[in-house]
């Protein structure tokens, strides 16, 4: 069962109001997305925790309504590791 991109966006934006969010529908099927999310809420969290935070916003949709979500999370300010 697919999930329209605007619903996915609003679930993320509701939980992370300052987020800059770029979502790409990878297969054009509303079921495989790549979300790039930048938010200050990720500051101080490791990657596992950052992804867990996003998953928590999607709740039970993840893995049911939404089949695949590739995640790239970026904290703010960006630390350039060179």
């Amino acid at each position: 069962m697919p999930m329209p991109i605007d619903i996915l966006t609003s679930l993320i934006k509701d939980g992370l109001p300052d987020a800059i969010c770029e979502i790409e529908d990878l297969k054009g099927d509303e079921n495989h997305y790549h979300a790039k999310i930048k938010s200050s809420k990720f500051n101080g969290l490791n990657k596992v925790q950052q992804h867990q935070l996003v998953y928590s916003l999607l709740g039970k949709h993840m893995g049911t309504t939404l089949h695949a979500l590739k995640l790239t999370t970026i904290s703010e300010p960006i630390i350039n590791k060179g």
């Binding site: 992804h51 867990q52 993840m62 590791k81």
Partner: protein
């Protein structure tokens, strides 16, 4: 699905006790049945890391149990010395950044970088 969480958590803990690097995946290492799982197998093989894989498609209890155990809604999942390292996206990120080598060194996991083409 009504499952006995304690029993499955105990089983997972035992799996993690027995091997340093454990991959929960769809399919097996020789024949992954999902692109994300294949991606993780490819990364572990690239670094010549010895790992044990468990196919969640063969075990419904494990399939749900590992998600609850890790508080992570998707499979694959990689554990190193009982610590949850991440799923496919994180593995790819830390492999590209080189951070994976820091983790492997810190956890004293033997690895070497494959000279074979990964394409």
């Amino acid at each position: 699905m009504n499952i006995d969480k304690n029993a499955i958590f105990e089983k997972i803990n035992k799996m993690l006790d027995e091997d340093d690097v454990v991959l929960f995946m769809k399919g097996d290492a020789d024949f992954p049945q999902c692109g994300f799982s294949a991606n993780v197998v490819g990364i572990l093989n690239y670094f010549n890391i010895n790992f044990k894989s468990f196919n969640v498609l063969e075990d419904d209890e494990l399939r749900q149990g590992i998600k609850d155990f890790s508080n992570w809604p998707t499979v694959p999942q990689v554990y190193i010395k009982k610590e949850f390292i991440g799923g496919s996206d994180i593995l790819r990120e830390i492999a590209e950044s080189g951070e994976i080598e820091d983790i492997l060194k810190e956890k004293k996991i033997k690895y070497s970088v494959s000279t074979q083409s990964t394409s």
